[in-house]
């Protein structure tokens, strides 16, 4: 795309948009839904009141392309964005984000969980993808991903998220690979073959979901006997809709969402202040009240209420049996593996 035309379009866009970030305001972008609502209550509104600044919110559907378009124009309308791990890595390499100045923050990098304090981003929360089933419909509960593959004991349709991500790892776990060796195996051509061959075993029983709410719907309507699902949505559904979904922890894959500051934002210092504000352990520990995502700062574990701790991916006993999504692996292979996945799923 012509940079000139893009810059021109961005300039026109900015001229038309009234709320460019000014000195007393911050534009923060989240992912919408329950998580952003929780952030609004715990972070945005208290921060606005305490500092006397105005916070403008926006929503982000994902993709480095959108962030690139914001930054390339030179005057991004967004200041702080919450991004996923691969967006963090790609954007940081491209220079889309301002490097975090940890001296300006109240917390040192070591106080965060491993992988949360990076060059361009600070962890916001930890979410995870796990095996889930409807306890109201299933008498004998599955206990591992190997059970997901066991179509004799648990006959019926299963659902997985469309795409290679998470599913290749789950397939290897079901095939007996320990959680800390997954990416060593997956990094080899034989490992990939093994994962796809494993998925082939249950291909006829699989349906694919796209949006995070779909697996819950599928479990509620008995469309599937087991599915992969985001752990936060499971607990929210149980709490608010009275469902009885259960997510098991062995073989869970977790990932860290981070706050980043877009290059070109005029509010870098204020953004750092917000990140400090949002990383406060007691505030981070309030997040699980709304949705069961884990805090990114270690000290928060002391403040998490006892009944919520088992539901969080960051609780030590859960983290032991989980694996962290390997960002570098997926950034390099997402294109080729998605193409390979589509070829496989069509066959």
């Amino acid at each position: 795309m012509s940079r000139l035309a893009l810059a021109g379009a961005a300039l026109i866009g900015n001229a038309l948009l009234v709320t460019s970030a000014s000195a007393d305001s911050l534009t923060i972008v989240g992912w919408g839904g329950t998580s952003q609502e929780a952030q609004r209550i715990i972070y945005f509104q208290p921060f606005a009141e305490e500092r006397g600044v105005s916070i403008t919110e926006d929503e982000f559907v994902g993709g480095v392309g959108i962030l690139r378009t914001q930054v390339v124009g030179g005057a991004p309308t967004w200041d702080l964005v919450q991004v996923e791990d691969h967006e963090l890595q790609l954007g940081c390499e491209e220079g889309l984000f301002v490097p975090i100045d940890y001296d300006q923050l109240d917390y040192a990098p070591e106080e965060f969980i491993p992988g949360a304090a990076t060059e361009c981003g600070v962890g916001a929360y930890v979410f995870s993808m796990q095996l889930a089933y409807n306890a109201d419909r299933l008498d004998n509960p599955p206990e591992s991903w190997a059970d997901f593959w066991d179509t004799e004991t648990w006959p019926g349709t299963r659902a997985l998220r469309r795409g290679p991500q998470y599913n290749l790892e789950f397939a290897l776990i079901a095939d007996g690979v320990p959680v800390d060796e997954i990416y060593d195996v997956l990094g080899t051509p034989e490992g990939l073959e093994r994962a796809f061959a494993k998925l082939d075993e249950i291909k006829g029983d699989l349906i694919w979901w796209e949006a995070g709410a779909q697996p819950l719907q599928m479990m509620a309507s008995n469309e599937v006997v087991m599915t992969s699902a985001y752990n936060g949505r499971i607990s929210t559904s149980n709490r608010e809709e009275g469902t009885n979904f259960v997510g098991i922890w062995p073989g869970t894959g977790y990932a860290i969402d981070s706050w980043v500051i877009l290059e070109g934002s005029p509010n870098v210092e204020l953004a750092h202040e917000f990140i400090s504000f949002a990383s406060h352990p007691e505030r981070q520990a309030r997040f699980p009240e709304f949705i069961a995502y884990g805090p990114a700062i270690v000290a928060a574990n002391d403040h998490v209420p006892a009944e919520t701790a088992p539901l969080l991916p960051t609780t030590p006993v859960n983290m032991e049996v989980s694996f962290q999504m390997d960002t570098a692996f997926w950034v390099e292979n997402i294109e080729s593996l998605t193409e390979r996945f589509d070829r496989w799923v069509t066959r």
């Binding site: 795309m1 035309a5 694919w208 570098a328 193409e339 799923v345």
Partner: protein
């Protein structure tokens, strides 16, 4: 008096009967045209800005990719002359080494890393990882140093890819969109079967779109016929019912279909209770779900042009045909149907064009093998920021649809595509 009549050329134009009429007519026409153009100018400008320019940019992005040329200029200049006979000479490796070292400092390597990784997976770590291992002092032999850091710097496959990518224009994206590739000798060959993807994807997209168009025509024609032949009050009610879906969000409609079609949904439970089936039908998360949901969403686009054309057919034609001895079905076939063809043409064209670009509905209600081309265009544009391939796929899709449009209108005649 006739011999004192002055010559035509010395008389002012306004007094010249023959010439002035032509001239003033031309002037009047010119004025009309200027006024008409002036009135249409804002719209033309709008269309050019939001339509023509982005399409040209998309077409350009499909074959212009300067990410390697801009970020690694020395390499681009040096590797251009490599004849692929053995490994490149030392100057090429020196150029690569210097470019990598400089690019790391200026954060310029993300672009070429992404671009080269698209062509050959693994290149990303090669481009981003190598500079971190470069020695402090200038090495004696860049070639040995680089190959020692990573053996892939001696791999002809990687180097040929680098050479091809180190140009301002590339045919890689267009070729990939057509499941073609260049081999070592630079000939264009088909990709090996296990790598082919987009041809079947394009075929699947056209297949689904044609099926949806046919379904819409089958369902829409009777509804339009009813609308055109029913009395005023009832017609208004029916028209509102046809238009009602437009007032609901597309995602809401798709979600509603999930509720209706699922295993314990309305359709399955009623069929089960009536005893028609013993096991729930799989109506969703497969091709059936896609066709049902998309047809319902696109039905109004078929009904409205058809209704508009049918409403303009005088009812006297059918009566005349029958009074001349034609039986009702014969009259319908020979008199009524041909007159509805412009509406059919407009409706089918509209529905086809729209369904070719759909991807949200198939993503939510479709099975694994039901994703349409636009899903991948969105994937490359947003997730992997591979704008080249997204643009190439868009270009291919546009070319196919244009080709179909040309064939279609040459069958029907362009001026016969009317919506009323």
């Amino acid at each position: 008096m006739p011999d004192t009549m002055p010559e035509t050329s010395t008389i002012p134009a306004a007094f010249n009967p023959a010439g002035s009429l032509r001239a003033s007519l031309r002037r009047a026409e010119w004025r009309h045209r200027v006024v008409a153009f002036g009135l249409a100018a804002p719209l033309i400008l709008f269309l050019v800005v939001v339509f023509v320019i982005p399409i040209i940019q998309m077409l350009t992005a499909a074959w212009v990719d300067r990410s390697v040329v801009d970020a690694m200029p020395r390499t681009a200049a040096a590797i251009h002359g490599w004849d692929r006979d053995g490994l490149p000479d030392e100057p090429v490796y020196e150029a690569i080494g210097l470019d990598l070292a400089e690019g790391q400092a200026t954060r310029a390597l993300a672009g070429p890393a992404r671009r080269l990784n698209t062509e050959l997976t693994g290149f990303r770590t090669l481009i981003l990882g190598t500079p971190r291992q470069l020695p402090e002092e200038t090495p004696e032999s860049w070639r040995d140093t680089l190959i020692e850091i990573d053996a892939r710097w001696a791999d002809p496959g990687h180097l040929v890819t680098l050479q091809r990518a180190a140009r301002a224009t590339t045919d890689y994206y267009i070729l990939t969109a057509l499941d073609l590739q260049r081999n070592q000798a630079d000939e264009i060959i088909r990709q090996p079967p296990e790598q082919r993807l987009f041809f079947s994807l394009i075929w699947r997209t056209l297949n689904i779109s044609l099926s949806v168009t046919a379904l819409c025509l089958l369902m829409g024609f009777p509804v339009a016929f009813l609308l055109a032949h029913v009395g005023g009050g009832l017609r208004n009610v029916l028209l509102i019912l046809v238009l009602l879906p437009f007032w609901t969000s597309l995602l809401v409609r798709t979600a509603a279909w999930i509720v209706v079609l699922q295993s314990e949904g309305i359709i399955n439970t009623s069929l089960l209770t009536m005893g028609v089936i013993s096991e729930p039908l799989r109506l969703i998360y497969n091709r059936a779900g896609v066709l049902i949901a998309m047809s319902q969403v696109l039905l109004p686009f078929m009904i409205l042009p058809l209704y508009a054309v049918m409403a303009s057919i005088p009812p006297s034609h059918m009566r005349a045909a029958q009074s001349l001895g034609g039986r009702p079905w014969f009259a319908f076939r020979k008199v009524y149907l041909p007159q509805t063809l412009p509406g059919v043409a407009a409706g089918t064209l509209l529905v086809f064009m729209l369904s070719v670009g759909y991807y949200v509905t198939p993503a939510l209600v479709g099975g694994g093998g039901d994703q349409m081309l636009s899903y991948f265009i969105a994937f490359y544009a947003n997730e992997t920021v591979n704008w080249g391939l997204a643009a190439a796929l868009g270009t291919v899709l546009m070319a196919i649809v244009l080709a179909l449009f040309v064939i279609y209108t040459s069958l029907f005649g362009l001026k016969n595509v009317r919506a009323g």
